[in-house]
Symmetry: C2
Subunit: 368 residues, 2 copies
């Protein structure tokens, strides 16, 4: 068994589990910092281990396939050695990236032909190819190649995407040779019916974990919440549940309450580079004039390297001067905020007071 | 006494000394990483201490005066606390920056009026103002405000600049109130006569150390070497000698041989951001195709964090992908190269084999 639940919240669907991988165990629910090209932007592995204190990162199959390319990764027998990271790596399948980043040339039941967003070169992804790429990367957790459609597409598009995703999921499972974990992805847009049907199809194939795909694609928050609330409790209890690409702290709290175990999002890292920093009272923009003279940490409640060593005034100065150090200190802070949030969530579940923790957190936290 | 020489090379003018400051002692000869806006680009104080292992940085008076501005620094009682650096800081006087970066509006015996390179705002620097700024920064080593002229200026310009620098040096010394060190600057362009005369004028005023200004401003290397060789041994033996803005590893070796004790240069940090990395066989450009698959460190002889943890292939990947981590890992490597060079130089002087060390180093090292 690669996954065990050992604590269930009494009042909600929140739970604590442990996921075993080839590069160590990790307690759920957890958040994965995004390291698209094999580096969490501005951070080194030492920062991730000793400052951010994460046991897992997510990397992007599509991006690494294009740059540095698989021949390079092969030379290093996988991504871990190439990037000098000996802990857990999850890779997405590129399904969402070929849909959102590239010029799509042709999509068929066989796969997707697209043009690279870097140099316009043509490439063809099939489920088989995507698994081979992820096996070359040797990521501890691989994702099936899924078919993504835009928010607001018509019913036929969603039906076709689900059909293809199911078919591709089978092909991914069939071709997989190594012992790493493979997760299925549930599509179905914003129809509860579709979601329910697709969940059953994917679960029937059988995977090491299940992800909710196709959310956080531009829909109103209520739509996303409706689907999370509907589908999560129906997902297999004994497998990790991964909500892809979500989200804000309040979204994570909502999803954990409904039984989600895994998250990833570019928000903490991207916001860091835009100067938007998370604090216990909500995100602030560090470039504001009011911080110019502030000799106090970003967040008095934060124990991160940035807050323990630098003032708002210095962080503002670095950001307004476009100093490279700004991006690193901001990233350390924002990721620590997310990792600490997950830690506090786990603690509150174990103490049987998750709902109280959530309420207290949100009563102070004012979202943007 | 703030400076003591305790070892002289038998064969050359190279020497080992110790300089005492309000934030600790430092062994000479040493190299100062440049932290223009109060941060060595991409590095935090912890990197500087534990990875680069430097005891001193240089910051720019002109830049910090403009951004964040003195009112902010005052609020923190100086630069050390603002940037969280408890070791030594040297600040230049801004003389070279107002000449090289700004639109000069008016220069007179009184001072220099100029437009900020950031927003075009007008400012007026006098020797008195420049000392007050540096006292607000509370840098351990301050520099006098000097008058800079362009390479190839005519004799009259050089004579006027020397006259003004002497006059401004006196005014700087007179207005100085705190106990930090103040260094004079010797101008005089590329005339040995001028240099000799100006050295005498500045030494007669009396400072805690003396700098050679006006070199590395676009002249042929032989011209620079001629002046270094001529003037350095004539500078007071019992005071630190600082060669401003120099230079390449071979320049540093040449200057140490002639008795220089202190260096600063943007080369290791700027080159790092351009992908030009120093190695024991000379600088290499990490973006080259030939490194794409190279599973070996930048420099097998280097003990830096970058070389101990990452391959050329990964460094190339980060640089070509414009990953922020690239700039930090490259900067750590290049600064470590410089700091190690100074360490090796000191060791060789103490072992009475500086010339042999220099010869061996240069026989392997192929400059760009």
């Amino acid at each position: 068994m690669s996954f065990n639940i050992y604590f269930n919240d009494k009042e909600t669907n929140a739970r604590i589990g442990k996921l075993k991988t080839s590069h160590g165990e990790i307690e759920t629910p957890f958040f994965m910092p995004v390291g698209t090209y094999g580096a969490v932007k501005s951070l080194c592995p030492e920062d991730l281990k000793n400052k951010v204190k994460t046991d897992i990162i997510l990397s992007n199959t599509y991006h690494l396939y294009l740059r540095p390319g698989l021949e390079v990764i092969k030379k290093f027998s996988g991504l871990h050695k190439f990037i000098n990271w000996d802990r857990i790596i999850l890779t997405d399948s590129g399904g969402f990236q070929v849909y959102s980043l590239t010029k799509l040339l042709k999509k068929s039941d066989d796969g997707v032909e697209f043009q690279s967003h870097i140099d316009g070169s043509k490439h063809f992804f099939t489920p088989e190819k995507v698994i081979k790429i992820q096996e070359t990367l040797n990521s501890d957790i691989m994702m099936i190649f899924d078919d993504c459609v835009e928010y607001g597409a018509n019913e036929e598009d969603y039906i076709l995407a689900m059909k293809r995703t199911t078919n591709w999921a089978k092909r991914c499972k069939n071709i997989k040779k190594n012992q790493n974990l493979l997760f299925g992805i549930i599509q179905g847009g914003f129809s509860e019916n579709f979601r329910q049907n697709h969940l059953e199809e994917i679960v029937n194939i059988g995977f090491d974990g299940y992800a909710i795909g196709g959310l956080s694609v531009g829909e109103p928050k209520e739509e996303m919440y409706r689907i999370i609330e509907f589908i999560t409790p129906k997902m297999p209890d004994d497998k990790p549940r991964y909500l892809m690409g979500v989200g804000k702290p309040e979204d994570i709290l909502f999803a954990v309450e409904n039984g989600v175990d895994m998250f990833d999002c570019v928000l903490p890292t991207r916001n860091a580079r835009n100067g938007t920093l998370f604090t216990s009272i909500g995100p602030i923009n560090i470039k504001k004039q009011e911080y110019k003279f502030k000799d106090e940490p970003l967040d008095a409640n934060c124990n991160c390297y940035t807050c323990k060593n630098f003032s708002k005034a210095y962080l503002r100065h670095l950001f307004t001067s476009k100093e490279l150090l700004s991006y690193r200190l901001n990233t350390i802070h924002n990721l620590t905020f997310y990792i600490n949030l997950m830690k506090d969530i786990k603690k509150s579940i174990k103490n049987n007071n998750f709902l109280k923790f959530k309420k207290d957190f949100l009563s102070k936290y004012c979202s943007l």
